[in-house]
């Protein structure tokens, strides 16, 4: 059988937990990590007779997202009941949006290997999260914790525009950055604040029709997403090349043995019987709400990357690093605000700051060295007041003890030796003290010069300008 050139087609459904204080339909606290069932009120538990009331902030956040991806925003939208039985779904139905989502078609632009890709967003709708089933053994029982039930979710559904596992991962990463820039999600993947389902199919390249697809559930890390999709693509190609056909099913990815397997048990329903929730009325998206939502759309990663490249002349890798996390971008921009150069600022943040944060396991928002101080420190190097080596020392002092850059430089007398006379004296003394090295140099051993520079630097505790030291030495050593 001739080998076929397979093309994979991938679409993602990303569940974004909205960072509201209270639940989407109740006044219970939406918090992660509380003791089981201490954040589930009567409404979240689906107790008899209780009723949902919609959280305004969840609506505002959904609208902010919609505006950020230039999506069509519904004038009015509606909530529907999606019926299926599962122990983490207290009411036996999930309140979701079926045919009137709050956010319609939009687009996300991202860069993959330098090229810009436009990924279509089919829709984004509001719904309530379910609780958690805890499978650790209670004598063949499963424990149900409903703290998460009723947490607001924005389900973002992409078009099947993604073609490779790397692209899918890049898209997930871009969405992760976008929701964090918008401040609508804490982006904490470990706590499940963003969860992703991937729809994967393959087809011979050039074929217009999509192949049969499978859905891989609960991919909550960039790496697992890439691995799971890559694995599923290989599996499907294997199935097709062995003459079988792909079965539409829901699969789970097991990172331990890097494979996907069909999901047992949770074949929720083949008929969700959606219908408008009679406990909730149509939501009118007022111009007031839209105004508030618009006011909360900041400069997004892509715009920042362009600006950093075009206005600041930074490289793709620099901009990639600096814009990936809104807090890093904010730190970088605050550093620039002191008037130092963009490139050295980028280098300092990517090297010294990043390394120090890493070592101490700190988040950039908790960096002991304020961006203003870093900016001033870099400015002092640029002004020639201190050398890069000294600046390193100053940075360590700032990190350990805090304080103010110029005060530290003064207090520790770290300014460069600028007195030409004194530097010349030191140079003459060093030369006089090492006659045989002088001979070697004069005999043409150029690298001995480094020895003299080192000595002079030691004498000046690194405060001398290497350029001038070189010049003075060459004069003094001239035969």
């Amino acid at each position: 059988m001739a080998t076929v050139d397979w093309e994979s087609v991938i679409g993602l459904e990303i569940h974004v937990q909205l960072a509201t204080r209270s639940k989407i339909f109740s006044g219970a606290e939406a918090a992660f990590g509380a003791p089981p069932n201490t954040r589930a009120c009567a409404v979240d538990l689906g107790m008899p007779g209780v009723l949902p009331v919609l959280n305004r902030e969840a609506v505002r956040m959904a609208l902010t997202f919609g505006l950020a991806i230039d999506a069509e925003i519904a004038r009015t939208c509606r909530f529907d009941r999606k019926s299926y039985f599962y122990p983490d779904l207290p009411k036996g139905y999930q309140i979701s949006q079926f045919d009137q989502p709050i956010v319609g078609a939009g687009v996300v632009e991202m860069e993959v290997d330098g090229a810009t890709r436009r990924i279509g967003i089919r829709r984004a709708h509001l719904e309530e999260d379910a609780g958690k089933s805890l499978h650790e053994d209670y004598a063949d029982m499963t424990g149900i914790d409903l703290n998460r039930a009723g947490t607001p979710l924005l389900e973002v559904v992409s078009e099947p525009d993604l073609r490779t596992p790397a692209e899918a991962a890049a898209f997930f990463r871009e969405m992760h950055a976008v929701v964090r820039y918008l401040g609508i999600c804490d982006g904490n993947l470990n706590e499940g604040s963003m969860r992703c389902d991937a729809n994967v199919s393959v087809r011979p390249r050039g074929q217009a029709r999509f192949g049969e697809r499978t859905e891989i559930k609960n991919l909550n890390s960039f790496r697992f997403l890439r691995q799971a999709i890559a694995h599923e693509i290989d599996r499907q190609i294997g199935v097709l090349e062995s003459g079988d056909s792909v079965v539409r099913e829901t699969r789970l990815y097991d990172p331990r043995d890097d494979e996907t397997r069909p999901m047992r048990g949770k074949e929720l329903s083949d008929d969700y019987r959606y219908f408008p929730d009679p406990d909730l009325l149509p939501v009118r998206v007022t111009s007031e709400l839209l105004g508030e939502a618009r006011a909360r759309v900041p400069e997004l990663p892509r715009a920042k990357r362009r600006r950093y490249r075009e206005d600041l002349g930074l490289s793709d890798s620099d901009t990639g690093f600096l814009t990936g996390d809104p807090d890093v971008a904010a730190y970088f921009e605050a550093t620039l605000a002191t008037g130092c150069g963009a490139k050295p600022a980028a280098n300092w943040i990517m090297d010294r700051v990043a390394a120090s944060l890493n070592r101490s396991g700190l988040d950039v928002s908790a960096c002991p060295v304020a961006p203003e101080q870093l900016g001033r420190l870099i400015a002092r190097i640029e002004e020639g007041v201190i050398s890069g080596k000294i600046a390193g020392m100053v940075f360590d002092v700032l990190w350990e003890e805090g304080g103010e850059v110029d005060a530290i430089i003064e207090a520790r007398d770290l300014r460069r030796v600028s007195d030409a006379g004194e530097l010349a004296r030191i140079v003459r003394r060093v030369v006089a003290d090492h006659p045989e090295q002088v001979e070697q140099f004069r005999a043409g051993k150029e690298k001995v010069l480094g020895f003299f520079v080192g000595r002079v630097m030691r004498e000046t505790e690194g405060k001398a300008d290497p350029g001038r030291v070189n010049a003075l030495l060459r004069d003094a050593l001239a035969p």
Binding site: A42, H135, G143, G265, K266
Partner: protein, 93 residues
Amino acid sequence: MDRQTLDRLTRLSQLQLSAEEERLVLDDLGHIVALIDEMRAIDTDGVEPLTHPLDMDQPLRRDAVTEAVDRARFLAVAPLTRDGLYLVPKVVE
């Protein structure tokens, strides 16, 4: 209304009917379907469905924590709990 349809409905609604009940219900549902089929006589072309009698917009709640949860009060009415969790037969995913 046939047995196959009824089986599907009982599965979707997680109900279970005794043989006796099933015989009766199958019969009743047949009559009920005949009753609701009487709607066909009404011309509803171009009529907008009325999903709710109230002509009102959904009120929006301020995002504030207003419910202090007293777990014990809720667990007290549950048939089977342990360590603050509701218990169900083992669920396999």
